[in-house]
């Protein structure tokens, strides 16, 4: 497929001839590394354009070049057909190109109005004109169809609303190009719907939007076109509705995506009766979020947990592993009725938990990869039985090799690794404890497709080696792929536990959504 054969037909007539923004032969080099290699990219007014690719494909480099955060080594950027040169993000903003990043760059301690207007706040006699500022902010919010009181403090609002405020800020300066980088990664279904509604409104006004997301569903839901990058080069530009998912994934991965569809599934439990549950939970209730849950984690088996955000999937994992206190229920580990009273006790019992918040509750970015891996083991051993430096390195090295952590450099700060490799470091840390039960809460969130497949396969291998695994993921297909059995959570209750073979993505979706129509009352997630 060539990359110029898809002519966008959803853009206004006059714009069809000329893109709003065009990158021609965009090349970025860092020393000898070429991270972006002669990439062409077109963006038309009033379209939502997705930029897809694995980590390292050059997505963020391209975005940085367009928003002035870094300079092209070769190639040109055309704005309205005229060549432009952005020396800073400020230049790009002046030209109407704004980016809203995953980590919201707003000020939680100030009002919504200030967060929208600060920097260009209306002033009278040199003093901030508060009334005018609120009015203007309200007008911007109104324009987006958002009913948010501009006088309220930003931190009072959910992440989703904060994100919408960030968009409002970008638009208050008449942005013509809006870059949304992973805008939905922390939003639930209802909040996504709200965001998509806003995006649709912006499209109508002729704003061009670059939408970056790891969620294929969302890309297909909101994007008109998609440009795929791989290893810094352009693969192609496609019309989303004519582009099959499998083809998209294949374009991103560059090799056959067969691995995505099935992993060598454990030949399900021939001797079911013999295998006993290593960890079993009866009638677990916790903080009103989990009601009367029964769960069995069987040796050599992966239990997938499927549920919407707010269904209590994280709360279940936390209560089972002693991170949070359960209000009622019995936890049996290895036959003995003793629930862990804290993560430390859980680890001693062989139960480890990997949090969904990789960055805040997992990886210590400043520490080296090696230290991150041996951290928990050293903590468990206690300070008196120090693991020697050489032994530590040896141990860490073996895990780096076993999990194929890249780059295989023990001394590199863990924070500099890609999301997928950070997740592997986290897994290595837990596996170094020689656990019997592994509870993984969204281990593949926000990482690229290739790393996702690797982690999925790794989980399968671990189960094959006799570990009991509980695997939580927001992506239903993934739960089906990884889990031998799937427990469906709905409103804090386990609705059903079924063998994965008996489920299809559609039937699972139906079960997960059961009892509530999609997009009804907003599901609230405690954070």
């Amino acid at each position: 497929m060539g990359h110029n054969d898809a002519m966008p037909d959803q853009v206004p007539e006059e714009a069809r001839v000329r893109p709003l923004v065009e990158l021609a032969g965009g090349t970025v080099r860092f020393g000898a590394d070429t991270v972006l290699d002669g990439v062409d990219f077109r963006l038309f007014p009033g379209e939502v354009h997705s930029l897809m690719g694995e980590n390292g494909a050059g997505k963020s480099t391209l975005i940085k070049a367009l928003t002035g955060a870094l300079q092209l080594s070769a190639g040109t950027i055309l704005l309205d057909g005229e060549p432009v040169h952005f020396r800073s993000t400020h230049d790009a903003q002046q030209a109407g190109i704004r980016a809203v990043y995953q980590e919201i760059d707003l000020l939680p301690n100030l009002s919504v109005a200030e967060n929208i207007m600060l920097g260009s706040e209306p002033r009278r006699f040199g003093l901030v004109d508060w009334a005018q500022m609120r009015r203007r902010a309200a007008a911007v919010l109104d324009d987006l169809g958002l009913d948010i009181d501009p006088a309220t403090t930003l931190s009072h609002h959910s992440i989703a609303v904060q994100q919408l405020v960030a968009i409002a800020r970008a638009l208050s300066t008449d942005a013509r190009v809006l870059v949304l980088d992973e805008p939905t990664s922390s939003l639930d279904a209802a909040e996504c719907a709200e965001l998509f509604r806003v995006i649709a409104g912006l499209k109508e006004r002729g704003v061009a939007i670059i939408f970056i997301s790891h969620f294929l569903d969302q890309v297909y839901e909101v994007c008109d076109r998609v440009t795929v990058l791989r290893d810094g080069s352009l693969v192609g530009e496609y019309l989303t509705r004519e582009f099959l998912r499998v083809d998209l994934v294949q374009a991103m991965l560059g090799h056959n995506a067969e691995a995505l569809r099935s992993r060598s599934r454990l030949q399900v439990v021939e001797d079911d009766a013999v295998r006993r549950p290593f960890l079993s939970v009866r009638g677990l209730s916790s903080q009103r979020r989990i009601a009367d849950a029964d769960v069995d984690l069987v040796e050599g088996d992966v239990l997938g947990i499927a549920g919407l955000l707010g269904s209590g999937r994280t709360e279940l994992a936390r209560a089972m592993t002693g991170v949070d206190r359960a209000d009622a229920g019995i936890i049996r580990i290895d036959g003995a009725a003793r629930g862990p009273r804290g993560p430390r006790e859980a680890i001693a019992l062989g139960v480890v938990y990997s949090s969904e918040n990789r960055r805040t509750e997992g990886i210590i970015g400043e520490l080296s990869v090696g230290d991150n891996i041996t951290l928990a083991l050293q903590a468990q051993q206690g300070i008196l039985r120090r693991i020697g430096g050489a032994r530590q390195r040896e141990l860490a090295q073996s895990w780096v090799e076993a999990l194929d952590i890249r780059p295989p450099d023990l001394d590199r700060p863990a924070g500099t690794l890609s999301g997928g490799n950070q997740q592997k470091v986290l897994l290595a840390r837990l596996l170094a404890l020689a656990p019997r039960v592994l509870v993984l809460d969204e281990p593949t969130r926000g990482i690229d497709v290739g790393a996702k497949v690797e982690i999925q396969n790794l989980v399968g291998d671990l189960a094959d080696n006799g570990l009991s695994v509980m695997f939580i993921s927001a992506e239903l297909e993934e739960v089906l792929r990884v889990g031998n059995r799937v427990a469906i959570l709905h409103d804090g209750k386990i609705v059903e536990t079924l063998p994965a073979e008996e489920l299809t993505p559609d039937s699972l979706l139906a079960l997960v959504a059961q009892g509530s129509s999609v997009g009804s009352a907003p599901v609230k997630e405690a954070r």
Partner: protein
Amino acid sequence: MSTTTTTPTAGRRIVPPRLSEYARTFVARHASVMPMLAALVILVLILIGAQIHFGDFVNPRTLSSLLLDNAYLLILAVGMTFVIVTGGIDLSVGSVMAFTGIAAAQMLDHGVSSAIVIPAMILGGAVIGLMIGVLVQYFDVQPFIASLAGLFLARGLAYVVSLKSIRVENEHVIWLQSTRWWFGEWYLTPTGVLALLTVVVGALVMKYTRFGRTVYAVGGGEQSARLMGLAVARTKVLVYVISGVCGGLAGLVLTAYSGAGYPRNGIGTELDVIAAVVIGGTLLTGGVGYVVGSLIGVLVYGTIHTVISYMGAEQSWMRIIIGLMLLMFIVVQRVIVVRAERRR
């Protein structure tokens, strides 16, 4: 999420909102003033308690002298509020006050005109503040360490000027203290007026200037503030300069108040100032705080001081009570912050 609905704006509520809704709106808009209101409530409770206990406590004379006695503390607290709201700290203020005070007393003793001495005091404070600000901003030194350096420097300079107390007989400086403007039973001194002016100007600057809003923005998230195109570097230097200017001004007021310059003045005062600012509802983590809150904090501090004098008790009780109150306020602030986070 009472303030957000997923419906478009057309259907705004027409039904009159209930009282609880007003309360919710108030919290959504003004959660950050809660600690300040709590301090106000405590101030009122202390005053009522003292009035009941002593019979005649809340009278114009006591309250007037409260402002007079704590004028220098109030001025320092205003400067400190700026610094703490950016997320910084300034430990140098007590020493700066002592240094400018003793230097002024020495100069006046040598017959230098007060028209030169007073601006020189302010300038001296500003220079030390500038030094701290530059260290913090451009050399990336922790505010704690940078201002500790400022503390030692200013204190050392004060000892260099004189080891002994120097009396001040300059009429202009004495005037600042000895003048009483009476309003019935109430009175104000020029030092009190200076302190109140500092509060008013400080509060207006914080609320109504771009600089003031940038102070809050820096405290809320330096990186975000920078991305918003705000003048972060300038602001961070300037807050220490302001604190230094307040230090110089406080030096003037204290010199007038005590009628002398003394190099050991204000040892530990920086901690009293921080305590008063925190009691007044400013978060030590930055981003939240009000100059008016610091006024309340200083009044709480001063009132407890006066109450203990009235009781004839050891002033060490003062420290204990302030310590306990600080603890309580920090816990209250924590609770408010945690609850705000949980709501999301």
